[in-house]
Amino acid sequence: MLIAGFLALACVKLLYLPSYKSTDFEVHRNWLAITSSLGVQSWYHEATSQWTLDYPPFFAWFEFALSKVAVHFDPEMLVIKNLGYSSDKTILFQRLSVIVTDFVFAVGAWTCMKNMHNLKSVQARGPSRDAAIYTLLLTNAGLFMVDHIHFQYNGFLFGFLLLSIGAMMQEQYLLGSLWFCVLLNLKHIYMYIAPAYFIFLLRAYCFNNSAFSITRLVKLGSLVILTFVVSFGPFVNQIPQVISRLFPFKRGLCHAYWAPNFWAVYNLVDKALTIIGKKFGGDMIKIPTATDLNGTQASMTGGLVQDIEHIVLPSVPPLATFIITFLFMVPCLIKLWRRPNSVNFMRSLTLCGWSSFLFGWHVHEKAVLIMILPMTLLAVISRKEAKYFLLLAITGHFSLFPLLYPHQELYTKMFLHIAWAFLAVKMLKKVHKCDLLTLAEKIYLLASVIIFIYSEFIHFYLPPNLAKYEFLPLLAYSAYSALGVISTYVSPDRKR
């Protein structure tokens, strides 16, 4: 079933080869070129293209390995100067590389599925649970849209996360940590869920039968340090340069397209208050001149990436977001400390991802996957979690729609989204043997159709004076999805 499922999905992915691809395609082509043409010492200094290397060293080595295969498809893609090069063979190679490396994801999903059998606290049992875990992970519509159309390697990366979780389920803590360290050195954004790992490993592994074991701490510590040394070793002379590439803080509070998180709503409220304040005269609220207003308003919502100045509500510096993010992680971390089993570990992991999505700095909408994918494993555990999973995943995938903006991809994303939603509802219903969503929740999900029809069709036919608010469809998507994401975040916390 592992191979059959993976192959079947690979066939569908192959069909979508000619789809739209984003600038991320060029990003990775550039990295193939950099790693294959230049020596290691230049990788993080090379800046011919604007898409400089900003992932940790293991990913650079990954691109290096890929480039060894790429040369047999079309050597021209490996020339750094060929900016924007995308011959048919290049597209074929790059798309194939995503499809093939997804095998790591398939193996990770399979491992988690198998190791779930060991967990005592899991309610549902039987082949339908196995099928649900494996299938819903592999066919995840969001992953399909981001990886195989927009173009990224998230399947490959999440595969390591799943392998790590799978190992933890088997109480193979060192192996789990190893996978996670590898993952961190592939893409450092997973740092956000590191607290869950930290607490879990400390409590479950280092405190061996409630006695603190120094040997275990040392073993764990050396493993982590060793991984980082292997990764950063070749770059020991250029650590500051690498760090500056990995953590570019010039970017704003929100990405060009607002991820549907707390700050999106914050911005929206700020904007609304500004408009209200403008209408009712401006003594109480300090309102800048009309030109300032237009300038900052436009930049916040016009889709560009800049530092955002809030007008009514206080501006938010990066440190504030970190503190708030961390604060919201604390409750689940405490619970994990008290009862350090694998299920709580998965829950904390998901909730850490959740709070980093909601409150983090410059969050990409693609980060919604960091919540959805681990939560797939939780969805088979209890009915409540299945319900939250459905709401989160369906809304989350919907929030990815603006990523695939060309007209041709409208139908792609629609069919993928709808198919996966039906699949998830059907499989989880079979696992839990009951209808999971209430009427209100179904209506909420169906309301997305209205947003969809508006943003994709009606907006273009509005009279000219309204049409200039081109941010409006994106805003609608963000706001609607944020509602879904935030409300599901709040509910499970209360249950704890």
């Binding site: 039987g126 082949p127 069919f415 198919a419």
Partner: protein, 503 residues
Amino acid sequence: MLNVDYALLFSVSLILRYGVSLWPYSGEGKPPMHGDYEAQRHWQEITINLPLDQWYNHTQDNDLLYWGLDYPPLTAYHSYLVGQVAHRVNSSFTELHQSRGIESPDHKLFMRLSVIVADLLILFPAIRFFCGSSLSATALLLAIYPGLILIDHGHFQYNGISLGLFVISVAAVIRNCDVLGSIAFCLALNYKQMELYHALPFFFYLLGKCLHQPSFLRKISKLFVIGVSVIGTFVAVWLPFFLAGPYTTLQVVRRIFPVDRGLYEDKVANFWCTIDIIFKLKQNLDTSQIGLLCIAATLLLSLPSNLHVLRYPTPRNFVMSLLNTSLVFFLFSFHVHEKTILLVAIPAILATSVLDKKSAFQRYWLPWFLILTVFSMVPLLVKDGLLLPTIASTVFFCIMYGNLDQMVSTSSSPLNERMSSPLPVEPNSFWIQLLGFSQVVSLCGACLLTLLHEVYPPPARYPYLWPTLICAYSSLHFLLFLLAFHVIQFSSGVTVSISKKKL
């Protein structure tokens, strides 16, 4: 009420269809004639700009040599409808004369969506109607069969409409709604004249049912009612042409049945094309002799299965006869296109509903046959630039077919969650093992030929080596299948399950 199983099946089917439609269509980037895509667009242009009596006639505005209409009136009406929408979306799509050879991403999206809409409106409801409320293997196979997807959404055609109407007619007739079935079949026939391949079984089955009526009065009245519905449907469809005069009507007939065309075009997996390798028919016989030979062979070979249906008009025999008759027509008739194999594949899939799912047919013969139908079209698909989607959709189909039980049983009651000890499985008999072995060897051969066709350029002496080999390979297999399917039709010892289908 929303049936989640069907919603899921159709959305997956849409994913496959839309994915294939991203690839090139027939004649893309190949002026001046392009291909079937341009033909369909041209018919939209003709039907909305010219009056009805000029649609099939060679006039100053309508050059019949440039993709003249050669399907019956329903296709023309359909083109008219789609053309009207096209005109409103972007009038340059259907500008008389000016829009020839128009190629743009917007136009392609529009045309591709029109096929998807046709499937949504006709093919999917037909599948639902045929299979009933619980998802069956038949529904799954109909929805993901790669041959239909590749031709309709890749090469570009509207077979979903005629085949959808055909499926509705079969479903209706099996359920004893003979009038509905007759009307649906006549509509299918009036959409594409190739549906004549299915006409004989319909005729004999309905006649057989009439003859089995208890009283003479009943027999006559049933015959009369069916006759009236058939004639009525034809009159309704052809009325505008009747009103335009006998010349116009005859001209339509001439366009639909071009008797002066050759025995075959290109390479087809047809008996005559294969014989031609050894014995040059065209050189030894003249056209009328060849025509006579075809008609004689086709009718003679169709007789056994159809007389069987006449004598024992059961749904099982009817569906098997549809399969056998259409295969005979494909192999032995005149001017066959490789795409017409779809007319054989669909009844083959429908046969899963009347035969036992553990039978050799569903386990071995059917998947073997269906994959070979796709293989027989490889030269055409490769010419269109559709090799990758062909491979992808066929491999996907094979994997789904291999796990058919799992797919379909998920819609059964959730109470069988308990893992029961497996039932004792009889070891396969020698013949079944031989069958399985032959199937694997044959499919490997097919893969090899595809690979060679793609990778190895043919020697200069035989430039059409690979397509010819592919056609010969396919037609020999089809002859084997013809024999096997006839044996299956005539063997009534096999357990038969004709479940009562809930609407």
